[in-house]
């Protein structure tokens, strides 16, 4: 066991200060997208609903309902979003109530 003890001394502590500080490497992690309401049209919103494989998007009147609890950050909506959907950076989404993960995005880009 001596060699493991010496290895441990040599390796040192690898535990980071998270959540006190975000680890730098997390900047490129996939995260749920952000939507730009002014570029979001009704037609685009309907298309995004079809594209999402996980049912995280739904259309209710003039709002796009985004269920962050169902989103897996796969990026398909960003790919098909024509600029109205951009990669997000926030992955710390834990919430005390399920309904807090459901967001409503106004559709302001017209038909």
């Amino acid at each position: 066991m001596t060699l493991w003890f010496l290895r441990g001394l040599r390796t040192g502590i690898v535990t980071t200060r998270y959540p006190a500080e975000l680890d730098a490497w997390t900047e490129t992690l996939p995260a749920p997208p952000r939507f730009r309401p002014e570029l979001l049209t009704e037609q685009l919103a309907d298309g995004l609903v079809d594209v999402c494989p996980f049912g995280a998007l739904a259309r209710e009147g003039d709002e796009l309902v985004v269920d962050l609890g169902a989103c897996t950050s796969c990026g398909l909506c960003v790919e098909h979003g024509a600029g109205a959907v951009v990669p997000g950076t926030v992955f710390e989404l834990a919430s005390p109530r399920r309904e807090l993960l459901v967001k409503r995005v106004p559709i302001r880009g017209g038909p």
């Binding site: 493991w4 290895r7 390796t11 690898v14 490497w25 490129t28 992690l29 996939p30 796969c74 990026g75």
Partner: protein
């Protein structure tokens, strides 16, 4: 493939529609005879057996044999009418699990009347996924082939709910108290009906789900899918994309083997070794994210190519350091007697088992079976970058770990050999009314996919055969070889299969 003149009317050898794959359309009598010839006389390896709809009360059986030394696959196609099929597993035991699957899916069982096991869905679940066999009177009537538990032996269940984070897996253990006399597995709790659910989808959407069907083999299974699609289209990906794909595949192999070694340490109770390896594992997952944008390499592949090229600077700056650290930790592990004692002669697979059961990957190679589809059925770039195939001879946990360590080193070499030639590119592929067979050497072994596309180019039938499907059937053999309860987690870690890969 040549046939005696008197059998020519019973066999139609189709022109080779894709390189390295020969297809013979046969009647059921010839199917039996050719299965016997291939398995017994030519030493071919059964790679898969599955069925597709062929009209009312009929199904087309496809038996895929790998002639590894000749670098080709042979597919025997035979239309089976009614509810009885040739008893192929009598000729080749490697076909039994697949015969059970076909019985559940189509209600067709071998004519010899042998007891079938239920393998796809749990009894009484009433899950109807559209397979013809579900709901018929011919449903499997027993959950498990009967065996006698006599004398002082008892049988007790373990799972399917197991420790946090472990996949659902039911283990039936037969024991006198400590020694494992017999063991059987049910992995149907995780069945998701993926093959059925992908019918009617576009290839692009199907690839998305194939990657995630068995997430630790996203590249292995995804690449097999892309190859099948490209074979159906008669096209090849651009060379830079082929290199990018290979780099992703080798990165997947490296992190999976590292995770397996960590799991073996956890199973033996060597926490300090587990921590050392898991530090490397975390570094490798972060490297995956830096190189390809995803820790588990999702979203890299595209039909006809790749969606992104690897970040060469990230790989050059970090891969060698992480692999060197893994080898240092492994050196310490192999010089820790209390750890090695738990690995040697544990979970032994006899050297004939890979051949008898059609095993693939490190499990087979640890028994001396030097199979590797990268070398035996090469596609670009492995036709030029031929990997050295690692093998061992003892078939125990230690052998499997040694094979994995050797493969990590070889994967590192292959990545650096082609890093400068990789890039993002894709050749559009839009096959219609076509079929294709694809394969790739995933971390767990040969992953195989066969697909058929309809007139619109959507999936008409998908056969998804990850390596885990072939290898889980050897777990009971490994567990029975004079092991005790506490050896089971060690053996499972050394197999490093996925339940998701079996229960797709």
């Amino acid at each position: 493939m040549t046939e005696p003149a008197s059998d020519l009317t019973a066999t139609t050898v189709l022109p080779e529609t894709q390189p390295g794959v020969g297809i013979a359309r046969v009647d059921t009598t010839s199917l039996t005879r050719m299965t016997h010839e291939l398995s017994s006389e030519q030493g071919a390896r059964l790679a898969d057996l599955f069925a597709t709809e062929a009209g009312d009360d009929a199904a087309t059986f496809r038996v895929v044999y790998a002639l590894d030394r000749e670098q080709r696959y042979v597919v025997l196609e035979s239309v089976v009418s009614g509810q009885r099929s040739p008893a192929l597993s009598q000729l080749d035991p490697a076909a039994f699990v697949e015969e059970c699957e076909i019985y559940e899916q189509f209600g067709i069982r071998p004519a010899d009347g042998r007891s079938m096991n239920r393998v796809l869905t749990a009894p009484g679940t009433n899950r109807r996924l559209g397979w013809r066999g579900q709901g018929r009177d011919g449903r499997p009537d027993r959950a498990h082939a009967p065996h006698l538990v006599e004398g002082e032996a008892i049988e007790f269940p373990f799972g399917p709910v197991r420790a946090v984070g472990w996949e659902s897996l039911y283990t039936g253990l037969v024991t006198t108290g400590e020694e494992v006399l017999d063991l059987y597995l049910f992995y149907w709790h995780k069945h998701r009906g993926i093959e059925r659910r992908l019918v009617g989808r576009t290839p692009e959407r199907a690839l998305f789900f194939v990657e995630r069907a068995d997430g630790l083999n996203a590249i292995g299974n995804g690449l097999a899918f892309c190859h099948a699609l490209e074979a159906a289209a008669g096209s090849d990906p651009p060379a830079p994309a082929a290199h990018a794909r290979s780099i992703a595949l080798e990165l997947e192999r490296i992190y999976n083997h590292t995770a397996a070694i960590a799991a073996v340490c956890q199973a033996t109770g060597l926490s300090v070794g587990q921590a050392g390896v898991e530090i490397v594992l975390e570094d490798l997952l972060r490297l995956n994210a830096a190189a390809f944008g995803h820790r588990y390499l999702f979203g890299v592949l595209a039909p006809g190519g790749v969606r992104r090229a690897p970040d060469r600077d990230a790989i050059r700056g970090r891969l060698e350091r992480h692999c060197d650290e893994l080898q240092r930790v492994a050196h310490a592990l192999l010089h820790t007697n209390s750890h090695v004692d738990r690995l040697e002669a544990t979970g032994v697979l006899e050297l004939d088992v890979p051949r008898r059961l059609g095993l693939v990957g490190p499990i087979a190679r640890a028994c001396g079976a030097e199979l590797d589809s990268r070398r035996d059925h090469p596609f670009a770039p492995y036709d030029q970058l031929v990997p050295a195939v690692a093998a061992a001879q003892q078939g125990d946990v230690l052998s499997r770990m040694q094979v994995m360590l050797a493969e990590v080193a070889e994967s590192e070499r292959l990545i650096f050999e082609q890093l400068d030639e990789s890039g993002v590119a894709a050749t559009p592929v839009t096959p219609r009314s076509a079929e294709g067979l694809g394969w790739a050497e995933s971390p767990r072994g040969e992953s195989l996919i066969w697909l058929a596309l309809d007139d619109d180019g959507d999936i008409a039938r998908l056969r998804l055969r990850p390596a885990s499907v072939r290898n889980w059937r050897a777990f009971d053999d490994a567990a029975r070889s004079q092991n005790v309860f506490t050896d089971i987690p060690i053996i499972e870690a050394s197999f490093w299969l996925t339940v998701a890969g079996g229960a797709r």
